[in-house]
Each structure stands twice: as C-alpha cells, then as structure tokens.
C-alpha cells in the first residue's frame, strides 16, 4: 500500500513537471527544453510503471480491478503511446497537451473516493485465469502469476482508450490549425504545430491503433462474459457504450474515405468518439446501473 502510493505521488508530480516542460518548449520554442521534457517523460513512464508493479505485488493480482488502478493503467498506456508517436514522427509540441491531459487524469485518480481506490481481493466474477497458462507455469510453481481474461480484456481496452485520448488531442489541434490555415492567419504558437494535413494523418494513425484494440477488448470481454455470465453479449450499459464508441470510430474511418467528410467532419467525429470513451469509462460506472458496476 505504502510503496505504490509513494510512486503514485512521484508520478503525479512528474506529470506536472513534464507537462510544464513541454509547455515551455511549445511557448518559447527552446530546443533544450524539449529534450529535457522528453527525458522527463521517460522518467515519468518508469515511475508510472513502478506504480503498477508495486500495486500488483501489494494486491496479489494484476492492477486492473478498480477505477483507480485502471486510471493509472490509462495514464501509463497514453504515456507509452505518446512517446512512440514522438519518436516516430519527431514531434514534441503535442507533448504539452498530452502530458497535461495525463496530469489531470492522475489528479482525478487521486481524488477518487476511497472505495474506488482500496486494494480489494477479486470478487467471484473477476476471478478468471487461463487454464493453459496455469498448466504452463505450474511446474515452476509460478501459477499464481498466470493471467486471464480480466487482465487481457482490461489491458487491450485501455490501450484503445489511450490511443483515442491521443487522437482526441490531435483532432482538437487539427481544428485550430485548420482554421488558421484556411483563413491564412498566423500565430507563432499555432505555427509551431505541424501542418493540418499531418495532424489529420496523425489522428488517423492513433485511431488505427485504438480501433482494433477496442475491438479486441470488446471481443475478449465477450469471450469472458460467455464464461462468467453465460452469454457473450447482454446489452449491459458498458457493453452497449463500448459498441457506441466503436460505431462512432467506425463512422470516423468511413468518413475519412468519403468526399465531403474528410478533415473537419472526421475530426469532429474523433472528438465525439473520445467523449463517448469518457462516458464509457466514467459515466457508465457512476451513472448507469449494470454488470460492470465494479469498474
């Protein structure tokens, strides 16, 4: 309990620092600030990884079983996703937005009421381990480290969420940048962003990762539900909202190949998609009753 809390606090502060460094890099355009920001982002990633690891060792199961743990997972995956994008496309200005989103995600996780944070043993519905993995690990006495549908389902879903968070940030910047480009206006801060064309492509790339991962999350959830609840689909609010989200992003993907829908409207769909993700993630847990009420 203590160690993971220590790492959480460190990560929390690190995200603020990283976000401010990226912000400084964006505002003042100093290259060295950007370099420090990137190395700080790696330190933060390491620290967030440690939160997950220590949490897992404290609770005795993968740290994906309540809202607090899943928030840390979300922040962790978004950090990795962002760093991968920064590395591949050599773009640092987006870091300011992503890291500040990360900071607020950490803030909201830390403000959660205790019952969403406490280390709890897994309830009956959450106990699922893969038999084959137990069989592989048991000769070495490691079967308690076997994972199951819970871990796979949550992990893939959250990679999807993270990718959508990144595409959301990119789409907002796209809309701003696009407006400046079409009006021919200039502003040194907006000019620091890549071209609208590039942003559109980046947003698409993020969704091209998020969409299949969300699908894998939905399907693995269905496989698991078929074991635990007796049916692969029961129109539970969480399931339905995951489908709604998936449909919005499916619309986005089709919009990008439809004349008149490319660019601005696609960006709006991407933003709508992320709002659906937020509701899927938080809204359903807090507002709507259903089978997923525990997370």
């Amino acid at each position: 309990m203590i160690l993971s809390l220590v790492f959480f606090t460190f990560s929390f502060v690190f995200y603020l620092i990283t976000g401010l460094l990226y912000l400084g890099h964006w505002l003042f355009g100093k290259k060295w600030l950007g370099q420090i920001a990137t190395s700080m982002a790696y330190v933060t990633l390491l620290s967030t990884t440690m939160v997950l690891i220590t949490r897992a060792s404290e609770s005795g199961h993968a740290p994906f079983s309540n809202l607090y743990e899943s928030m840390v997972l979300f922040v962790w995956a978004t950090n990795i996703g962002y760093l991968a994008m920064e590395y591949r496309h050599k773009l640092k200005v987006l870091g300011a937005i992503v890291m500040i989103i990360e900071f607020f995600a950490m803030l909201s996780a830390s403000l959660l009421p205790y019952r969403y944070k406490s280390v709890e043993p897994l309830n009956p519905a959450l106990q699922n381990k893969w038999h084959w993995m137990m069989n592989v690990l048991s000769p070495f006495g490691l079967q308690k480290y076997a994972i199951g549908w819970l871990d796979f389902h949550v992990f893939t879903t959250f990679i999807g969420y993270s990718a959508f968070a990144i595409s959301f940030g990119v789409s907002i910047i796209y809309l701003v940048k696009n407006r400046y480009e079409t009006n021919g206006r200039h502003n040194s801060l907006v000019d620091a962003f890549p071209d609208a064309r590039v942003l559109d492509e980046l947003g698409y790339r993020a969704i091209a990762w998020g969409f299949p991962f969300l699908a894998v999350g939905i399907v693995s959830g269905a496989v698991w539900a078929n074991y635990a609840w007796g049916t692969y689909w029961s129109w539970d609010p969480k399931e339905t909202w995951s489908l709604i989200t998936w449909l919005v992003y499916a619309a986005y993907l089709h919009a990008r190949v439809t004349r008149g829908w490319r660019g601005k409207r696609a960006a709006y769909l991407s933003i709508a998609g992320f709002l659906a993700v937020i509701f899927l993630y938080w809204g359903v847990s807090f507002v709507l009753p259903g089978l997923h009420a525990y997370a």
């Binding site: 591949r88 449909l247 619309a251």
Partner: protein, 472 residues
C-alpha cells in the same frame, strides 16, 4: 444525399419500374453516406437503450417516468430497444450496405490487383505523384538500375523491369493483400451478425434453482443434472471469494460426468452450457431445526435437539417423537383456503411444521414459530410444549442454462475480424515507379509512387530507398 445519378437515370429509361426501383435501391445501399448515416444513427439510438433500463416490468416505467412517458417508451419499444424493429432494421440496413458495397467494389479491385503487372507502363507516370524524389548519380544506367533493384529487394518489395527507348523503368510493389483488409473486416461483421441470428433462432436461455441432492431436467435434451453440493468460499477478510456447485450429469439414470462449476467456470455438455449464476436460501424447506422441550411451569426450555428434514427424532425426557415436515420463511395463513404460505422469500417470520408422535401414533401437526414461542400450544392437552430454537436454512444453487449454436460463428467472425484489422491497418499497399534515365556520364533516377494509407511511412521509405541507391 444526391438522389440522382447519371448511371441510374440513363439506364432507367429502358427499364421496367421495378428494375428502376431496384437500381435506385442498389445505388442507395452502395453509398458510403448511407454507411455513415446508419453507423451514427445506430450509435445515437443505442444510447436510449442504456439510459432507459431495459426489460423492466411495465409498472416500473410508469413509476419512474410517469404514465405519459411510459406510453411513449412502450410505443417506441424503448423498453426492449435492442430487439425492437427499428434497431433490427438498422442492423439489416448495415448488413445490406456491407453486402452491396462488397459486391460493387470487391470484383473490380480484385481484377485490378490481379492484373496490376500487365498494366501498360507509362514512362512519365513517375512525374504524376506528389511523393516523388529525383537524384542524379555519376554511374551508368545499368549500375543504377542494379542498385535500385537491390534497394527494393532489401525492403522486401517485388519488382518488374521494363525499358522504353533509352529509359530503364522499374515497377515495385508491396503489401497488396492489405487492400483486402476492409473486405475481410466487412465479411467478419456479417459472420458475427449471422452468429447472432443463429443463436437467437436455434438457441435458448433458461434458469433453474436446485437444492443439494435435487435434479434438474434439461429442456430439449436427453440428460439430467444433479446438484451434489453447493458452497461458498470466503477470503480471510470475510469477503466472498467464490460460489461453487458440484454437478453430476445423469444420462439414462447413469452418472456420466462430475464437474465442479463456479463463476467463470461453466459446465459444457452436449452443446449446452451451465453456469453458476446465483444462490439463495430456500423459503419452503430447511436443512435442520433445533427443537426444544418446554415443560409447563418451567421458565426455560431444555437443551434443543437437532432434527433433520423429514426425519423422526425421539425427544429426550418426554414420550414424544417429532418429525420436521415443513418450513415457511415468512409465515402467513390464508383463511379463505386454509393454507399456509410464505409472504416473501425473506426469513421475516420463520416457522416450522412438525409431526408429533406419541408411541407411534400421530397426535399433533403444529406450526411453531421462532419469534413467537408458545403462541399456540404445540401438543393439545399436554404439559409439554415444543419450541423452535433455531434452524439451518437449505441453500439452493441457481444454474443458468444456455444453448447457443451461434457462438462459434461469432468467434469465427471475431477471428476473421482480427485478420481483417491487421490487413487493413498495418499492411500498406505501396506501388512505386522508378525511371532511370542515363546520358552516358550521369544517370537521373526519379522515383515516385503511392500508398493506400499512412503517407508518413511512405515518405520515409522513399527517402530510405533513395539513400541506399545513392550511397551504395
């Protein structure tokens, strides 16, 4: 949406009305705008199915939303949205949309991709792409061509060469299969829909509550299921860890299979799955009860005796034997019919029914109450009374029964979707043309091409290919 299309209106003149309507419909379902419309409408309509709780009893909707809105909910079938005509029609439209689009787009694409090598190679095609680069080398054209081919081979491109006049031309491609990703994904969606339809037509869902030792007859199957044991595991902290049922499959009176099921571990037998879905304490029977003798004049009853369900037990220090024959959790008496029933499944007023024997002769059949000892004398005209001191409830296990022959089709669809996604999102079809034009001393290499998605990858790849052509 554009209603008129040149192709349709031209063709429509010579056609019968049904053909005209047919081709209009075909055109409608071939449109991507319809896809967008259906996807967004499905998303919006589904929201109602999450905000309004589904499949509640009618009076709950009236209580929650008032009579007027409840009427609207029933009129629009919002209480069972996902099985309503509107929702299924939208799904059908999506399926039709997918089918028509696949028929319309797949064959020409297939043909074009199959024959892409025999296309006429235009030496000036390279000038047409926005993604193009030129480099000039101080080597003969043949050497340059060799380098280009080697660079492509290193990047795992397939290549073809042509020559046109003094120009050497290379055509290279990679990842053609990625172009079929969208088709594979679309077909997988149809498979999943098919699986859902098969499941809803040929499958069923059911539920049975069963006591330890009891058997359940399985609907539409030739075997029975016996519950041997039900128990709950707890963590040290007292939280519930797991619900378990030990089941035996009985076929023609013989035991065929034993299996312990728990939440997350169903029993699968002859196409039917059995799930641990709930449990509870019975309201019409108990496992055993503690019955005590209370003599007239004594203030406290004697030590209680444990009487098991439907077993005859001799009561110590008395001439009576008792048999435990009935239980109600929430005792109520219907005077009109003279019957005893339980007002609720909760143990608000637990009572047991006994048969009291004296020397083998039935002398009384009293109900005795846990909360009201001695309210009615258990044995008439006797100095002995019987009181209920406590009991152990009988647990039942709730087993969900589900037969869904469509499930495997759904999983097949999901697997196909996975393949489709890999092809659609991570395999890019690149086509690159290279023109090598030598003038004896130096050689100009111009490279250009296109990719079906992910331009970033492509720009970098073109640069890398050129770099290795230059440096080699």
């Amino acid at each position: 949406m554009r209603k008129k299309d040149n192709k349709v209106s031209k063709g429509a003149e010579g056609k019968a009305w049904y053909q005209a309507i047919g081709s209009k419909l075909w055109y409608l379902f071939n449109s991507l705008k319809l896809t967008l419309f259906v996807l967004i409408t499905l998303a919006i309509v589904s929201i109602f199915g999450t905000v309004i709780e589904q499949n509640l009893p009618a009076e709950d909707y009236v209580a929650r939303y008032g009579e007027k809105w409840a009427r609207v909910i029933f009129y629009l079938h919002l209480n069972d949205l996902f099985h309503s005509f509107t929702f299924q029609a939208l799904l059908a439209a999506l399926a039709l949309n997918i089918i028509v689009c696949t028929f319309e787009r797949f064959p020409p694409k297939w043909k074009a991709l199959l024959n892409h090598r025999s296309e006429k190679f235009d030496p000036n095609i390279v000038d047409r792409f926005s993604n193009s680069e030129t480099v000039s080398l101080k080597v003969p054209a043949e050497t340059a061509k060799g380098r280009v081919l080697k660079a492509f081979a290193r990047k795992k491109f397939k290549t073809m060469t042509f020559s046109s006049g003094s120009d050497q031309l290379v055509y290279a491609w990679k990842g053609i299969i990625g172009r079929f990703g969208s088709d594979v994904t679309h077909i997988s969606l149809l498979l999943i829909l098919l699986g859902a339809i098969v499941g809803s037509v040929a499958g069923y869902k059911d539920y049975r509550a069963v006591y330890e030792g009891g058997t359940i007859k399985i609907p539409k199957a030739d075997f029975k299921l016996r519950l041997d044991k039900f128990w709950i595991d707890y963590y040290d902290s007292g939280q519930i860890k797991q619900y378990n049922s030990l089941l035996t499959v009985m076929e023609n009176g013989k035991e065929v299979l034993h299996k312990q099921i728990w939440v997350n571990e169903p029993l699968y037998f002859k196409g039917i799955r059995f799930y641990q879905s709930s449990y509870g304490v019975a309201w019409d029977r108990v496992n055993d009860a503690g019955i005590a003798i209370k003599k007239k004049g004594e203030s406290d009853p004697q030590a209680p005796v444990t009487v098991k369900w439907e077993q005859l037990v001799k009561m110590p220090n008395s001439k009576y034997s008792v048999k435990l024959v009935g239980y109600t959790a929430d005792f109520a008496y219907d005077e009109a019919t003279g019957t005893v029933y339980s007002k609720s499944p909760d143990a608000n007023n637990p009572a047991v029914k006994l048969e009291v024997y004296e020397g083998g002769k039935l002398v009384s059949t009293p109900w005795i109450f846990l909360k009201y000892p001695g309210i009615f004398p258990a044995i008439p005209n006797s100095d002995t009374d019987l009181v209920l001191e406590g009991y152990h409830g009988e647990m039942y296990s709730g087993i969900s029964i589900n037969r869904d022959p469509g499930t495997n089709i759904v999983w097949l669809g999901a697997a196909v979707m996975g393949i489709g996604f890999i092809l659609a999102f991570f395999v890019y079809h690149r086509r690159v043309w290279v023109r090598i034009r030598g003038n004896g001393k130096s050689t100009e290499v111009k490279i250009g091409g296109m990719i079906n998605k992910n331009n970033f990858v492509f720009e970098r790849e073109i640069k890398e290919i050129l770099d290795s052509v230059k440096s080699d």
